[in-house]
Symmetry: C2
């Protein structure tokens, strides 16, 4: 079960990544992982934190998002210039991107398949394949 993420499990995961389980990191982790798959910007997470009476600075939100990403707890998704989304689902999957609202929605791995991947140029290897299905309203 990839969806298993208990609170204490998180502490463990942070430790593995060499990150101390601080008040801020734990609070942000709860906000991020206590709900199902989410796609959040740094600003959105910061607002949520303030609303939940978690005092964190913007800088810390950014630091934390990047550290979590490095450790594999999050995945960064780029679909829009000038805004990064962080995806709490780190399984292999792709995205619908709703141009009208700016929302993202997961497309599970088995619902979309990339065939005939070309060889990467010499000296390089494929780190990841991102598919973004851009969707727009039918009556704009």
């Amino acid at each position: 079960m990839t969806r298993e993420r208990s609170y204490s499990g998180l502490i463990a995961r942070l430790k593995v990544g060499g990150l101390r389980p601080t008040r801020q990191r734990l609070a942000l982790a709860r906000l991020l992982f206590e709900r199902e798959d989410r796609h959040l910007t740094a600003e959105q997470l910061h607002s949520e934190a303030l609303e939940a009476d978690v005092r964190v600075s913007v800088a810390t939100v950014y630091n934390t998002l990047h550290q979590f990403t490095k450790v594999g707890l999050l995945r960064e998704v780029v679909v829009e210039p000038g805004r990064s989304y962080f995806d709490t689902n780190v399984d292999d999957h792709h995205h619908f991107y709703f141009e009208s609202t700016g929302d993202l929605q997961d497309i599970p791995k088995d619902q979309l398949h990339v065939a005939e991947l070309p060889e990467p140029p010499g000296g390089t290897r494929i780190a990841r394949v991102d598919v973004v299905v851009r969707v727009q309203d039918i009556e704009p």
Copy 2:
């Protein structure tokens, strides 16, 4: 032949898009389309223009890139937060993205195929499918 793009053809294309063929737009169009497929940021194009003794403001470079994109002469590619690339190849195709250098390289349509596209959610239709194959150096 999709690669056919003469200078006068450009004037025609601009007219179709309702864009006057001004000095700046024509100069930028030459820089963009007189070489083969390119992936440029606004800043890069602005530098090239200055080097080529084409006096244009940054604002105009941005305006022009967006107008060209709207008219279908360019395609915007987002792979990196905080930076937009404009692709002179508007045919159906995908990209390699070199994480070490930030470069983009086209993957022709026939070298990569997306199978089993899921249905877009009700009330929406697929505007475009972007595949980015992120590639990294083997010995980092």
